[in-house]
């Protein structure tokens, strides 16, 4: 029998956007239903996953490792061909979303990231400006507890200080990486993190466990540990994990959503949610997919919000190139994350020709297979010197980049590949343009200069520019001033539907080189204010 739930607002997706939004609406007395297809992970689950990683020597143990295809929806991508590269999503489904395991980097967009079309002739402009967004970025930093220092000469203006001081630079950053950058005219600065340096909102300060994915101390922001805990047990909030939203039903006039149809993952029993408002916060892939799957009659036959043919267009991501060094001297210890970054190549490049990037250096990252290079570099003629290999291991350093793309991808339904419930999965076609490939090449050149400045004995080749795609899908339900330019308006309401909103990285018309999470949370706070009838923080 179909269960029917009624609410003021139905929010699909309990990642950072959905969780933050739910707390704000619940706080003003709205009855909120918050759905997520994935499970709810307890602290015991976290501990077990960490322990499993140690016991099985799986440095990539993660929350969804044992989840079924009904819990983690697969996707497909275009075959690598020419300039189209295989797109690989790093999926994580569950209460908390991908912020369950993220590294807590809270970078801001730059002012000009929001105006790339009008200033530089590529990508799409945002319909709102940086000054509209900035107060919400401040609020987002406060909401999740960002530690940072005001030492970034490349940053766009900020109207308030970080909630708390940033993390001290590591030995490597202070003594080796920072001076090397400085010798090249580049400033290394603090890396804003949602990892407190002092107790914050009931969370402890970072305890240097160096396993940030599971954050045993509970310091790093994770929606389930912060926002979900605020609303759990409240009478006006219903949190449902293991519920897969299948499609949205439009009313007879086609101008509003009347119901969300879902299935329980465990037993496939149906569920209908009727609400005044519906919000999709399903991330950069599942949000556009759900709009495509909800195609109905009349004006929605090509998907909800697709009157102008923009749904799925402008899909983007970051590429993450890497370089490994043997710096010839002990690099010191790692806190578990990078304490210094540089946004030099966001500010000091000609964006008419080049994409921007930011770089992070540190003693070799935990997940990175530095043994490959270290063993290769330990060859002495035909002899593999294991002594040299052991001596070099503490000297291994990685430099990673996060590189902006033009955003020429598309997301559509793959009718040849169905999910566990029989619906087409999302198919991503991800072309990299010549422009997209120039920035990693530039990073490769800079990496050599940095290596030389650090006195590195060996430098690896840079990983291919398509390596690492799939962490920050964005852009496929862009906000815009008209349906001819995007899928939702500046208030995140889907065009031509009175009560449907979207909030995720999928609404970014363009994504700069910064990680998206802070902006997503800022937009969720802004949407909450809009739904509450407020207009400014």
């Amino acid at each position: 029998m179909t269960q029917v739930i009624r609410a003021d607002c139905c929010i699909a997706g309990a990642g950072p956007a959905g969780s933050v939004l739910a707390t704000k609406l619940a706080a003003i007395g709205k009855h909120v239903v918050l759905l997520d297809q994935g499970p709810s992970y307890s602290e015991a689950d976290r501990s077990a996953a960490l322990r499993r990683g140690v016991e099985t020597l799986d440095d990539y143990a993660d929350y969804n490792d044992n989840a079924s295809a009904a819990t983690v929806t697969p996707h497909s991508s275009a075959e690598p061909k020419g300039q189209v590269v295989d797109w690989m999503a790093q999926r994580l489904f569950g209460i908390g979303g991908t912020a369950l395991h993220f590294e807590g980097i809270m970078g801001r967009p730059r002012e000009d990231d929001l105006r790339v079309r009008s200033l530089y002739g590529f990508g799409r402009d945002w319909p709102i400006g940086y000054t509209d967004l900035e107060p919400w970025l401040v609020r987002a930093e406060q909401e999740v507890g960002v530690a940072g220092n005001d030492d970034n000469p490349y940053a766009s203006p900020r109207s308030a200080p970080f909630p708390m001081p940033g993390h001290s630079f590591s030995y490597f950053d202070r003594e080796i990486f920072g001076p090397a950058l400085a010798s090249l005219g580049i400033t290394g600065h603090s890396s804003p993190r949602a990892i407190p340096t002092e107790p914050y909102g009931g969370r402890s300060e970072c305890l240097a466990c160096r396993a940030c994915k599971f954050c045993p101390s509970g310091a790093r922001y994770s929606p389930d540990r912060v926002h979900i805990r605020m609303i759990e047990g409240q009478q006006n909030v219903t949190i449902m994990n293991g519920v897969s939203l299948r499609h949205l039903e439009t009313g007879p006039e086609g101008d509003q959503i009347v119901a969300a149809h879902a299935l329980r993952v465990a037993d496939r029993t149906p569920l209908v949610i009727r609400a005044e408002r519906f919000v999709l916060a399903l991330g950069g892939v599942e949000t556009p997919r759900l709009l495509l799957l909800s195609a109905g009659g009349g004006g929605t036959s090509a998907g909800l919000g697709n009157a102008g043919g923009q749904l799925g267009r402008g899909f983007s991501d970051h590429v993450h190139p890497y370089v490994t060094y043997d710096i010839g001297t002990h690099a010191g210890s790692r806190l578990g994350f990078e304490t210094m970054i540089t946004e030099h190549h966001r500010a000091e490049v000609d964006r008419r020709d080049e994409n921007t990037l930011w770089m992070l250096g540190s003693p070799a990252m935990d997940w990175f297979p530095v043994g490959v290079e270290a063993a290769t570099w330990a060859m002495r003629g035909d002899v593999l010197s294991l002594d040299a290999l052991r001596e070099s291991t503490p000297r291994m350093v990685t430099l990673s980049g996060m590189v902006e793309l033009e955003g020429n991808g598309t997301l559509e339904l793959d009718h040849d590949t169905l999910d566990a419930f029989g619906s087409p999965v999302a198919k991503v076609t991800m072309p990299l343009t010549d422009r997209d490939r120039r920035a990693p090449q530039r990073m490769g050149e800079v990496a050599l200069e940095i290596g030389e400045a650090m006195g590195a004995e060996n430098v690896s080749e840079i990983t291919p520019p398509d390596f690492g795609l799939g962490y920050h899908p964005s852009g496929a339900t862009a906000m815009a001033d008209s349906p001819d330019e995007g899928v939702c308006d500046r208030d995140l309401r889907v065009f031509e539907l009175a009560n449907l909103y979207v909030v995720s990285s999928s609404v970014f018309p363009h994504m700069g080189a910064n990680p998206p999470t802070l902006t997503i949370i800022a937009l969720a706070l802004r949407l909450a204010a809009h739904l509450e009838g407020r207009v400014a923080p």
Binding site: F102, H320, P369, P394
Partner: protein, 149 residues
């Protein structure tokens, strides 16, 4: 956090794609011959000195139990592993070097990939670098800012 894992996992797949084939057995109390050989290789090529044998043996137990390393072996690889292991004296630990020129191509290829894999593991790297175990909360936050001792 983890497409970074793709590269590493692809690497593991490379290791697995070698014709390493043998059903290692489920939860075996006694080690199979190929398991014995792999354990011997870990001790000989790994970083643990003889006076840390207990810790090394504990690692070997987990290494062998970890399915992504020892699952789905094929007979040809089994033979390569066993031949390579026979080149090391019983009880050898933390050897200083490996003369690759003395090895047939298959063993040479396997030995290099095995060492690359072993020294990519966080636990091994942390051991070599004298780092506290991964996931152990240190409480104090000064270690990472200090010059290495």
């Amino acid at each position: 956090m983890s497409g970074y894992s793709l590269k590493r996992r692809e690497f593991i797949q490379v290791l697995m794609s070698l014709p390493l084939g043998y059903a290692v057995g489920c939860a075996a109390e006694r080690r199979s011959p190929v398991q014995e050989s792999l354990g011997k290789l870990v001790l000989a090529l790994g970083p643990w000195p003889a006076d840390d044998r207990e810790r090394a043996e504990e690692f070997v137990g987990r290494f062998l139990a970890a399915e992504h390393i020892v699952g789905l072996y094929l007979p040809e690889s089994n033979a390569v592993i066993r031949r390579l292991a026979r080149r090391f004296p019983d009880g050898a630990m933390a050897l200083m070097e490996l003369n690759m020129a003395a090895l047939p191509a298959e063993e040479r290829e396997f030995a290099l990939q095995f060492v690359q894999q072993l020294y990519s593991l966080v636990e091994v790297r942390f051991y070599v670098s004298n780092e506290p175990r991964w996931g152990e909360c240190l409480g104090e936050r000064t270690r990472y800012v200090q010059a290495p001792g």
